[in-house]
Amino acid sequence: MAEATEVLTPDSPEAAAAAFGEGGDVTIIGGGTIMVPLVTHGVVQPNKALILADAGLEGVDQSGTTVTIGAMTSVSALSELDAPLGPCAANLGDSEVRDQATVGGNLCAVAPPEHPTGDLQGAFVALGASVRSTGAGGERIEPVADFLADRDNRLVLDVTYEQPQAGAFESLDRPHTHHPTPLAVSGARLADGSIQLAATGAAPTAVRLPSAEAEASDPDAAGTAALGDVRLVDDAVSSAWYRERILPVLVRRVLEQLG
C-alpha cells in the first residue's frame, strides 16, 4: 500500500464536503466493504482517501412522511424499515457486512464483471428517492436513477424519499454464504397512488421497469412486459436465460403484494 496515500478523516459533513472538493482524485471509504479489499489487493491505489467514519453523515430521519437517510447509515439500520427498502436491506450480505456497509457505498457500487451489486439501488429507484450529493459544481439533488447514470466524482450526502402507501421486495434467493443478489425486484405504491417498479441484477445498475408499471393491473402481463426494460447478461451467479425466466415471477409476486 502506498505510503504516499493521503488519508483524510473529516469530522463533520461540511468538512467532508470541503475535503472532497471537486472529487477527481479522491477515493471515498464509507464502510469499507467495497473499497478496502480493492486497496488491499492493489486494484485501487489511491492518492488521496477520504474516510467518512466520523463525518456525521449517518442517521435515518423520519419526519412526517419524508424519510432521509444519511450516506454513512449502515445497511443494517435500514432493515426494520417498510418494504421495499427494509427487506431489501435485510437481504444483503450477512449481519456483519450489513453493519459495516453503508447506503452511500451501495449507491456508488459498480458491478464487478462476475455478478450484480448495489442491492439497495433498486429499492431506492422504486421509491422514487432522490440523492443529495456534492462535488464539482456544488451540491446536487436528483432522482436516484439520474444519479446512477452520472455518479463519478460525487460524494453522496443523503437519500430522501416519501413514504409509499405500500411496498414490496422479492429476490431470487440462492442460499449460499455471501449473498450477491442475482436478481431482485422492488415495488412501491407511491403517495400519489402510482406504482413504480425497479430491478437489481437485470442491467449494470438498477433499472426502472416502466413497461411493467404500465401493465401493473395485470401482474402476469407486467412480468412479461418487464423483459422489455432490461438488459440481461450471463454472469457467474446466473445466466441471462434464467434471469429471463425469473424476472416475470418476481415482478408478479411484487405486484401481488402491492395489491
Binding site: 500500500m1 502506498a2 489487493h41 492493489g42
Partner: protein, 455 residues
C-alpha cells in the same frame, strides 16, 4: 479408561478455539520477503518473449524466478511410479491454461512484488483451445498436449483404462431391458479456508526449511527434492497443521517455486495465494463425462454394464491417470455385476489441471451409478431398496478386478436407512445379510462370481 471408541476431544482443539494453532501463514521470521506470481492471462499460447530484466530492477525486488532457475523443470505427480512427467514447474515455451505460473517475484513487500510482476516483459502467440472432452477425439479438434488429446497410459500400448469381465454382448442378449444414460458431475473447488501458502527459509547450514500446508509432507519432500536435484537431507518440511485440504494440497503447488525464490534471494520468502488465485488458478475436482449402458432383467438383476468415461484432466496429467484407474476399479459401485466392459480416457483440455479431491475417482462414478440405479428402479417399477439389496456386494462376491470381498456392508447400510426412514422392506429383503450368496440370492448369472481368494 479406554481410548479407542471414546469421544475424546481433539488433540489440538484448545489451540483452535484460542487462535493459538500455528498455520503456515502465522509463522514469523526476520527479513522475510513476499512473493507474487506472473500467471498466464490466456488459455493456450506460445510464449514468444520472456524478459525479466526490468522486473529485477524494480525497487524492493530481490529475486525473479523463471523456468531457467529450475534444475529439473518437469517432475510428475506420478513420476514415483515411473510415469513420465508432462508439467513444467514454471512455464517455458508455452502456456496451456489461464493462471499457469510463469514467474515468481520476491520483494520487500507485496506492492513491490506486484510491481515486479507488472514489469516482466512477456509476449504470447495464442493457440486454439479445446474445452469439450467429447470433441477431443474428433479429427478437427485442436491438439492441446504433446502426448495428444488423451493420456497414452504408457503400458501395453493402451491409450485408455479398460476393464473386461464376462461377455457383455451375452448380457445384452439375455437382458429384458438395456438402459442407457449420461452423467456429468461438475468441477468444483476444494475451497480450503487456508489458501495455498508456503514460506521457505534458507538456513546457515545450506538447508532449506520449508513451511508447507501440504497434506502429504513426504510426498511433497520427494517432489521438491526432485525439482531442486538435492538429497532429502537438504530439505526440512515444517507442516502437519493444515487449514483444510480436501485433496487440493497434495499437489505441492507453491513450495518448490518459493524455495527457488528463497535460494535466489538468500532470504526467507513467503508466497500466499489470494482467494482469487485459489478459485481461478488452483486445481479443481475434475469434471467427468460418463455413459452407462446396463443390461437388466425385469425382476431387477443387473447382468452387465458397458461404460465409457472421459475424465477431464485439464492441461496436464497430475494425478488424473491414477484417479481414472481407481474409478475403473469401482465402476460397479456397491454391487456385483458379472459382465463388464469399461473404457476410460484421461482427456486433456485447456482447463486448470484437475487433481485429487475427496472421493477421488469415485465421487463421479457413485453419482453415475446410483443415479442410473434410480432410473432403472423408476423404469422397471422396482423398490429402490430391494433392487439395490438384490445386487448388493456380498461376502465372497468378486470385484471388477476379480478380487473377493471380505467385509462388504451394502446390505447393512441399506437396511439401516430403510429402518431409519420408515421404509418397509419385504420380509426376504429385511432378512437379507451380507453373508455369502445362496438360494434365491445366487442366481445362475452370479454363480461364477463367487470366490474366496483375495480379501
Amino acid at each position: 479408561m479406554k481410548a479407542v471408541g471414546a469421544r475424546l476431544p481433539r488433540y489440538d482443539g484448545v489451540g483452535h478455539v484460542t487462535g493459538q494453532t500455528t498455520y503456515v501463514d502465522d509463522f514469523r521470521v526476520h527479513g522475510m520477503l513476499w512473493a507474487k506470481a506472473l500467471r498466464s492471462p490466456v488459455h493456450h499460447a506460445a510464449i514468444t518473449k520472456l524478459d525479466t530484466s526490468r522486473a529485477e530492477a524494480v525497487p524492493g525486488v530481490h529475486a525473479v524466478v523463471t523456468h531457467t532457475d529450475v534444475p529439473q523443470l518437469e517432475y510428475g505427480h506420478l513420476s514415483g511410479l515411473g510415469i513420465p512427467a508432462d508439467e513444467p514447474l514454471l512455464a517455458k515455451d508455452e502456456v496451456r491454461y489461464m493462471g499457469q505460473p510463469i514467474a515468481l517475484v520476491a520483494a520487500e513487500d507485496l506492492e513491490a512484488a506486484t510491481a515486479g510482476v507488472a514489469a516482466i516483459e512477456i509476449e504470447y502467440e495464442e493457440r486454439p483451445t479445446l474445452w469439450d472432452v467429447r470433441e477431443a477425439f474428433d479429427s478437427d479438434a485442436a491438439v492441446v498436449h504433446r502426448w495428444g488429446n488423451w493420456y497414452p497410459h504408457f503400458e501395453d500400448e493402451m491409450d485408455r483404462r479398460q476393464i473386461r469381465k464376462g461377455d457383455i454382448q451375452k448380457a445384452f442378449e439375455d437382458a429384458d431391458h438395456i438402459i442407457q444414460g449420461v452423467y456429468r458431475p461438475a468441477a468444483i473447488e476444494h475451497v480450503p479456508m487456508e489458501t495455498q501458502v508456503s514460506m521457505v527459509v534458507p538456513e546457515s547450514d545450506g538447508r532449506l526449511t520449508i513451511h508447507s500446508c501440504t497434506q502429504a509432507m513426504y510426498f511433497s519432500l520427494g517432489v521438491i527434492s526432485a525439482h531442486l536435484q538435492v538429497p532429502l537431507n537438504k530439505l526440512k518440511i515444517v507442516g502437519g497443521t493444515v487449514g483444510g485440504g480436501f485433496g487440493g494440497k497434495v499437489d505441492t503447488a507453491s513450495e518448490t517455486i518459493t524455495a527457488l525464490a528463497a535460494m535466489k534471494a538468500g532470504r526467507p520468502v513467503k508466497w500466499r495465494w489470494t482467494r482469487e488465485e485459489e478459485f481461478l488458478a488452483s486445481s479443481t475436482r475434475a469434471p467427468w463425462h460418463m455413459e452407462i449402458i446396463d443390461a437388466v432383467t425385469s425382476d431387477g438383476w443387473i447382468l452387465g454394464r458397458k461404460m465409457l468415461t472421459l475424465h477431464d484432466s485439464g492441461a496436464y496429467a497430475r494425478f488424473s491417470p491414477y484417479g481414472l484407474t481407481k474409478h475403473s476399479f469401482h465402476h460397479t459401485g456397491a454391487y456385483t455385476i458379472p459382465h463388464l466392459h469399461f473404457d476410460g480416457y484421461v482427456v486433456f483440455t485447456n482447463r486448470v489441471p484437475t487433481t485429487a479431491m475427496r472421493g477421488f475417482g469415485v465421487t463421479s462414478v457413485s453419482f453415475a451409478v446410483e443415479t442410473h440405479m434410480s432410473r432403472i428402479v423408476d423404469e422397471l417399477g422396482l423398490d429402490p431398496y430391494e433392487f439395490r439389496l438384490k445386487n448388493a456386494n456380498r461376502i465372497h462376491d468378486t470385484s471388477p478386478n476379480r478380487i473377493s470381498y471380505t467385509d462388504p456392508s451394502t446390505v447393512d447400510v441399506l437396511q439401516s436407512i430403510a429402518g431409519a426412514t420408515g421404509h418397509d422392506l419385504a420380509p426376504a429383503y429385511a432378512a437379507a445379510t451380507r453373508e455369502p450368496r445362496e438360494g434365491e440370492w445366487l442366481p445362475d448369472h452370479l454363480v461364477d462370481q463367487i470366490s474366496t481368494e483375495g480379501h
